[in-house]
């Protein structure tokens, strides 16, 4: 089913968004509402010697001042290393020391100024390799007492560790024709949604309603319940329109701080972040990374073996980053046919802002390194880099690095189509080149649920736990329900983003919404279809099996003119057994990776369900005098299975590519010697603008993928962010003569590489 044709896909939330009537969290006002402000540490590593909020509590207009002493003593996170407020040790500059609720911003600021906050500085851990030195102090002195999942392997400043081993890599490299090693270093970067986050909390009796700009309302609810020790049914999270997230608004952040302030002040409280806070404070930053890859090549150009080592900058706390080493290790091995591999990846504590999910976490950096290395391999043996990938990349029936044997996939089609659409191989000006890279990304099956009701006039409501972060995934649900029921998408309204109304959902994370909630919605609609067919069969004196639902009517197959409208059937049902459907849908199974052995810190990601593949070809122009790179054209091809919503999927590709261009060329977090961010503003951080954006072409390799998303689909939102920086790197390397080994590949770094020997 393709939605793009007729009628053209129009998102149901669209009119609200283009007219300005749509409410985002910062647009909400409640009577008596107070303003929240946080006291941040402002220092990267220190021990608090004095924290006294007595005077702050007496500032006029101040209703509450809270510190860790005022909330339950609970540690949380994937490694339970986090507390709501500082536990006495400051581990990064954006750590919240105290929170204030006051009648207005000026009173709140006066209260912050009145807090006595003194500390002694500790040596900062500003570098992942330094963090691993034996004499480096621990970021978490008591980490051994923290809870974590049993499969998370930890030691010293290593917050989590994974290894992947298959075959005998030592023997494979020893016996290889050529062995080539590369080292690449990627800076940290940010999600940068245009909406800074906001939270509003209001208590009514012993229950709290929290409006929050979160991508994951149920996770946020669970976080509030955990740290404030409340049952789930007393905490309601409602998400107004969400102004983008890109992973930056995943996880549990400030909902509990604001709920605690509202309870203490007996007033509704609102927090709205400044852009600087959005850069400095949240536990969500794309991790800096060091990637080392060694590959052995056989004389025929096949890959004999690969050893990869990845160090990830975990930052001060682990948020959801405990699974990142596993993802990074997979990306540092890549979607290739290699029988002998060994990968190790460690996420290392530092005094930086915590890492967390940002669109395809770990993938763009690791793919950039691996695919740049891949072009180095091809160059070393004088082979065309596209031909090298066609020879070595996986495809249907092939065995990948972890022993997973792939069902029908479209990676080779992606390589063929992206390259064919590009100027690869054409005669180009001597300051232009085309680079090519391939990427992959797993699918995350999970629990989700939806209810559908059809009222007496034949109009329906879909009640879902799914979260719309802008992608259009939730907006696509009416099309799925309508297709099952022979109705129009416009016949359905959506109720969503409310934890007290919708069934549990993981949220707008892991590209999972249409995959999991789409299946739930289809299942709910099918229950109503059974009811409608039964009602129609009685009315038309036919068997339910012969009833067809189409065009807003139910009729006997072959007799569309003598049917009954769905509205008539709904009116009958309203007096009896009402039209109610509910769906959840068993999640698809994750395949085995049977030949992988001795895997430490196994997070269960050696076998990837519904793997998505891509190839990007990017044409650039390089100014050799300045090192400035301009992206002229991006040609993409993606295997995300059957595409359900062409406009929505294309929007994901285009947005993901542009984010990838930013990561490739400009976006980075610059740390000072004090481990504090030096460019926490949009002008200094440098997102791509419309003037920078190139034309982007898209090919979808629509491989029908059984037992995955609705209608043979796979997810799409993160995959387009994976391979763009890598393709740009390979284009730059062609013009420079060698790769730029630092990400982003800023003009300065390109220019410096041009001055090196061999360039």
């Amino acid at each position: 089913m393709v939605i793009a044709e007729s009628p053209r896909f129009m998102r149901a939330d669209g009119p609200d968004k283009v007219t300005g009537s749509g409410r985002y969290t910062a647009d909400l006002t409640l009577t008596g509402m107070l303003t929240a402000k946080f006291l941040y540490a402002g220092v990267s590593h220190a021990r608090i010697t004095k924290l006294d909020v007595t005077a702050a509590r007496h500032v006029p207009g101040v209703f509450a001042v809270l510190t860790q002493a005022d909330v339950p003593d609970i540690r949380y996170g994937s490694v339970a290393d986090r507390t709501l407020f500082s536990d006495g040790v400051i581990r990064f500059e954006g750590e919240v020391v105290a929170a204030v609720a006051a009648i207005d911003t000026k009173s709140a600021q006066a209260a912050l100024d009145a807090i006595v906050f003194e500390y002694e500085e500790l040596p900062v851990i500003n570098d992942v390799e330094a963090a691993l030195e034996p004499d480096t102090p621990l970021v978490h002195e008591n980490w051994a007492t923290y809870d974590a999942d049993d499969d998370v392997s930890r030691q010293a400043n290593v917050a989590s560790f994974t290894s992947i081993t298959r075959g005998d890599v030592d023997a494979a490299l020893a016996g290889a024709d050529r062995v080539i090693s590369s080292r690449y270093v990627a800076d940290a970067s940010h999600a940068v949604p245009i909406e800074p986050r906001g939270v509003v909390a209001q208590w009514e009796g012993d229950r709290v309603t929290i409006w929050s700009s979160t991508q994951v309302p149920f996770q946020a609810r669970d976080g509030v319940c955990e740290v404030l020790e409340l049952p789930t049914n007393r905490v309601r999270i409602i998400v107004p329109h969400l102004g983008g997230g890109f992973g930056g608004k995943c996880g549990f952040h400030y909902e509990a701080h604001i709920a605690a302030l509202a309870r203490a002040s007996r007033r509704p409280v609102r927090l709205v972040f400044s852009r600087e806070e959005e850069f400095l404070a949240p536990d969500r930053r794309r991790e800096g990374m060091i990637i080392e890859v060694t590959s052995g090549l056989n004389a025929d150009g096949t890959i004999a073996g690969r050893r990869s080592r990845v160090l990830l900058d975990n930052g001060a706390y682990s948020s959801d980053a405990a699974f990142f080493p596993h993802m990074a290790a997979m990306h540092a091995l890549g979607p290739y046919k290699i029988d002998h591999v060994h990968a190790e990846a460690s996420s290392v504590y530092t005094n930086h802002q915590p890492s967390g999910s940002v669109r395809a976490p770990t993938a763009p950096q690791a793919c950039w390194a691996l695919e740049s290395h891949t072009d180095e391999l091809a160059k070393a043996i004088g082979m065309d880099p596209v031909a090298f990938r066609q020879l070595n990349a996986v495809d249907t029936g092939a065995t990948g690095v972890t022993g997973q044997v792939y069902d029908e996939i479209g990676l080779q089609e992606c390589i063929r189509e992206a390259v064919a659409a590009s100027a690869y191989g054409d005669e180009l000006a001597d300051d232009e080149a085309v680079g090519v890279a391939i990427g992959w990304w797993p699918t995350f099956p999970g629990a989700s649920g939806a209810y559908i009701k059809v009222d007496s006039d034949g109009k329906g409501v879909i009640i879902t736990g799914a979260q719309e972060c802008g992608t259009g995934a939730v907006m696509t649900l009416p099309y799925l329900a309508a297709a099952e029921l022979g109705m129009a998408p416009e016949d359905f309204e959506l109720v969503y983003q409310d934890t007290s109304v919708g069934p549990y959902d993981v949220g707008a994370t892991g590209s999972q919404t249409l995959l999991n909630n789409g299946r739930a919605t289809v299942e709910a609609a099918r229950q109503i279809a059974v009811q409608l067919k039964q009602l129609a069969a009685e009315k038309l004196e036919a068997s339910p099996d012969d009833i067809v639902l189409n065009g807003g009517k139910a009729f006997v197959a072959g007799s569309p003119d003598s049917g009954v409208t769905i509205a008539e059937l709904a009116a009958i049902a309203a007096d009896g057994e009402m039209l109610l459907g509910r769906g959840s849908g068993a999640p698809p199974e994750t395949p085995e990776a049977p030949n992988t052995v001795s895997c430490v810190g196994d997070q269960g990601m050696n076998g990837w369900a519904g793997p998505q593949f891509s190839c990007h070809a990017v044409r650039i122009r390089l100014d050799r005098d300045t090192g400035v790179v301009r992206v002229l054209e991006v040609n993409t091809a993606h295997d995300s299975g059957v595409i359900i919503n062409q406009i929505g999927a294309s929007g994901q590709v285009e947005g993901g590519v542009l984010m990838g261009i930013g990561q490739a060329l400009t976006e980075r977090t610059v740390y000072g010697a004090d481990a504090k961010q030096m460019n926490a503003g949009l002008l200094e951080y440098k997102l791509q603008t419309m003037a920078d954006a190139p034309p982007i072409s898209i090919h979808f390799a629509e491989v029908y993928t059984p037992d995955m998303g609705p209608n043979g689909s796979k997810p799409i939102a993160e995959a387009p962010n994976v391979a763009t920086a890598a393709a740009i790197s390979n284009a730059i390397a062609k013009l420079v003569g060698k790769p730029v080994r630092l990400l982003p590949m800023t003009a300065e770094r390109v220019w410096e590489t041009l001055q090196e020997d061999g360039a």
Partner: protein, 154 residues
């Protein structure tokens, strides 16, 4: 210290009672009560707060509200065509130029200013005209298409 003055917003005269150091975006969002104008950076960097003052695009986060006295302020709420969507609004939806929607009001105001000034812009002129409005969702391709289509239709 608050002072009383009037603002003309979308053709309606509003009595304002606010401190003279308040910026226009904050007064529009709280005193006037129109929240379509968004605040993304408070520093003229993102364009989400773009409004028109006497037809000129202005980042309202960095413009004093009191300075707008005697001028016509237009926000996204003021560009509906009666009860119908303005062509820019409709085309943004039909071309798929809206995802999270947070940049959309500012983008519409910048595009409206551009098309008023230059009814038949080239692609390059649109790219430069809207380069002060950041969008993180779309890659800009469909926003560009919507503005091109609006220009072609008028």
């Amino acid at each position: 210290m608050n002072e009383a003055y009037e603002l003309d917003v979308n053709g309606v005269r509003y009595p304002i009672n606010a401190a003279m150091d308040r910026n226009l975006s904050s007064v529009l969002r709280t005193e006037v009560g129109l929240t379509g104008t968004k605040e993304g950076c408070d520093d003229c960097e993102c364009g989400a707060c773009m409004v028109l003052i006497d037809g000129q695009p202005v980042n309202s986060c960095s413009y004093l509200a009191a300075q707008a006295q005697g001028r016509e302020v237009t926000t996204v709420e003021g560009i509906l065509d009666g009860d119908n969507l303005h062509p820019l609004q409709r085309n943004l939806l039909e071309e798929g130029g809206v995802q999270c929607g947070f940049c959309t009001p500012g983008m519409i105001m910048s595009a409206q200013a551009l098309l008023t000034r230059n009814p038949s812009p080239t692609e390059e002129e649109i790219r430069i005209g809207l380069s002060g409005n950041l969008c993180r969702c779309t890659g800009y391709q469909r926003i560009l298409a919507a503005v091109e289509r609006t220009a072609a239709e008028s």
